[in-house]
């Protein structure tokens, strides 16, 4: 009978909790309306396709090594669209030596600014001033900086081809968890996240400075 008594107490507490939540006007997570979190991603298929001559850094910049010994560097499709349409507000200065991990671009999602880190060491040969202040469309056609760098630098740290596409897809899945965690208004993101639409350009404005710092740490660090 002791076993039945303990079991009855256990089940009673679970039932009482559900009733208490009901009185508080809340729903137990187990019985709340299901949101299809894991079946789909929030990306446009075009965002996932990456040109074959481009390699991707884990800090969401892309590199294209040219025959002239210069490397074109830009922001990838994820970086260009993660928290809404992004504009480049600043690039590293021309003629400057830049080391891997230093800030190479600053971009803004609405009123929030994020920093992208240089994936390689090098000298800034040229800056594409045409992209400053513009929203990025066709990210792999819009280079931001031409860098003199050693093309033989360890390419194993970068991703390309199918590996890069799979990684990008997973980054968008991770992003969904991130947005769900940090947006104070899930409904704002929800329209885009769960109903198959694109991310709202207003999304970033609802984020706190802490959330943006977390975004940089989770997605833009090398």
């Amino acid at each position: 009978m002791v076993a039945v008594f303990v079991l009855a107490v256990f089940l009673f507490i679970i039932a009482a909790d559900i009733i208490v939540l009901k009185f508080q006007g809340k729903k137990h997570p187990a019985f709340a309306t299901a949101i299809p979190q894991y079946g789909s991603s929030i990306h446009d298929e075009n965002d996932i396709s990456i040109p074959s001559d481009i390699i991707i850094s884990k800090g969401h910049t892309w590199i294209k090594f040219g025959r002239d010994g210069l490397a074109d560097i830009g922001i990838d499709a994820f970086g260009a669209a993660a928290l809404g349409k992004m504009s480049v507000v600043k690039c590293a200065d021309e003629g400057k030596e830049i080391k891997k991990g230093e800030i190479i671009f600053e971009g803004s999602y609405g009123d929030k600014t994020v920093k992208f880190l240089s994936p390689v060491n090098g000298f800034v040969k040229a800056v594409n001033s045409n992209i400053i202040g513009k929203k990025i469309s066709g990210p792999y056609e819009m280079w931001g900086i031409k860098l003199i760098t050693d093309s033989k630098e360890n390419k194993r740290q970068f991703l390309s081809g199918n590996e890069a596409q799979n990684w990008m897809k997973n980054e968008f899945i991770r992003l969904k968890s991130f947005i769900e965690n940090f947006t104070p208004d899930t409904g704002l993101a929800g329209v885009t996240m769960y109903d198959g639409g694109k991310l709202s350009d207003e999304l970033a404005s609802s984020f706190t400075a802490e959330a943006i710092a977390n975004f940089e740490k989770e997605f833009l660090s090398l």
Partner: protein, 387 residues
């Protein structure tokens, strides 16, 4: 945390304060008046609710070693967000067990005797030492969370170096500990009811703790999502259905293994006839098997139930209920039958047990609010693994 927030009364806070207050009074009586005056234990029924809860607490804490081994030894980093809550649950579970053991000892002031007075031929000796060693391992496994809070990076570095040996030691101690609870009952073949007595009891205990430990962590994920919502400033506490579904498949495998082992035991030892003998023990055995094994296996066999959070919650409750019934049936129901006496815990036994459970939940809440218990939903390792 603001003092107003702490003092703001809620239903569960009021209930908890009442339970803890009554429990403290009962604890005072137990230590001042003795076991005889405050419990319904006697020479014919020396082990009661507290020993049953020890078995239960250790069984439900099994997720600690299961998840730690899954992530750190088998490198299934998908389950990483579960590691810290699982280890904390195990640590709190074991702490409750230690407290209950001290309360249950006739001479609690002698609790330290097994540390220096070794009886290496006793199963109790093995149980005691596994309990001590595994609790130490859990402290080492959880220490980085505490050290992180105070930015003590140097000790974390050393703990990382020894992390794999520590996890392996944890798996070993846990395996020994879980199974030795079963071994304890091998010495009472004439006293434990044959429905539960088996030479395979250590294996039964081990397999069932894996299923129920994982179910406990699934159940706990729902409690975390319910208790630490995003609008109160918590992150990464939402239900991660992809992880929970994966864990539920492991529960299914463990339940099937346990059921096959039990079937083999019944067939091989000619115990089938016991199943049609009408008695309170038989009904309780049926309740245990149907609730904790047959219903969960039937539901978990379908992917749609494994991926549905409502059903996953219900299934986890079923498996935990099965463990509650099993451990209490082995430690109380199965033994009381042969002793010829009746036993039901006294008010003080119940109130002390309830108080320790409430304090355990309170401790979890304090740690969750003040330390980085919930890690990022998906770490970079997870993503790398998926690719």
């Amino acid at each position: 945390m603001k003092i107003n927030e702490i003092l703001k009364p809620t239903f569960w806070k009021v209930v908890s304060v009442i339970i803890v207050t009554i429990g403290l009074v009962s604890t005072f009586y137990r230590f001042t008046r003795g076991l005889g005056a405050t419990t319904n234990l006697h020479d014919m029924a020396p082990w009661g609710l507290w020993i049953g809860f020890d078995f239960l607490g250790v069984g439900l804490a099994a997720a600690g070693f299961t998840i730690a081994a899954t992530v750190h030894i088998f490198h299934l980093h998908k389950y990483e967000p579960m590691v810290r809550p699982a280890i904390l649950t195990a640590f709190i579970g074991y702490s409750i067990v230690v407290c209950l053991l001290v309360v249950d000892l006739g001479r609690p002031e002698n609790f330290w005797h097994p540390l220096v007075m070794w009886n290496i031929h006793s199963v109790m000796f093995e149980i005691t030492w596994c309990l001590i060693c595994y609790t130490t391992v859990l402290i080492l496994e959880f220490a980085p969370v505490v050290l992180e809070k105070f930015n003590l990076t140097a000790p974390i570095k050393y703990l990382r170096i020894i992390s794999i040996p520590v996890v392996i030691a944890g798996v070993l101690f846990s395996t020994l500990h879980q199974s030795s609870f079963g071994s304890l009952y091998l010495i009472v073949p004439g006293k434990l009811h044959p429905l539960w007595y088996s030479s395979l009891l250590p294996v039964h205990f081990y397999i069932s703790c894996i299923a129920s430990g994982l179910s406990m962590i699934i159940f706990e994920s729902f409690l975390i999502a319910r208790a630490f919502p995003k609008d109160e400033g918590f992150h990464h506490t939402e239900l991660k259905m992809n992880i929970l579904s994966g864990a539920s498949f492991a529960v299914l495998v463990a339940l099937i293994a346990g059921f096959l082992l039990k079937s083999y035991d019944f067939i091989n030892n000619g115990k089938i006839s016991l199943l049609i003998k009408p008695s309170a023990e038989t009904y309780l055995f049926y309740l245990e098997i149907i609730t904790g094994t047959i219903v969960p296996i039937s539901l978990l066999s379908f992917k749609k139930f494994r991926e549905d959070k409502k059903w996953l919650y219900i299934i986890s409750i079923c498996v935990i209920s099965g463990l509650i019934l099993n451990r209490l049936n082995v430690s109380i129901t199965g033994l009381i039958a042969s002793s010829g006496v009746n036993y039901f815990p006294s008010f003080d036994e119940i109130s002390i047990t309830a108080m320790l459970v409430v304090l355990g939940v309170f401790a979890f809440r304090i740690v969750a609010k003040n330390f980085h218990l919930f890690e990022a939903a998906e770490s970079h390792e997870t993503v790398k693994e998926r690719i």
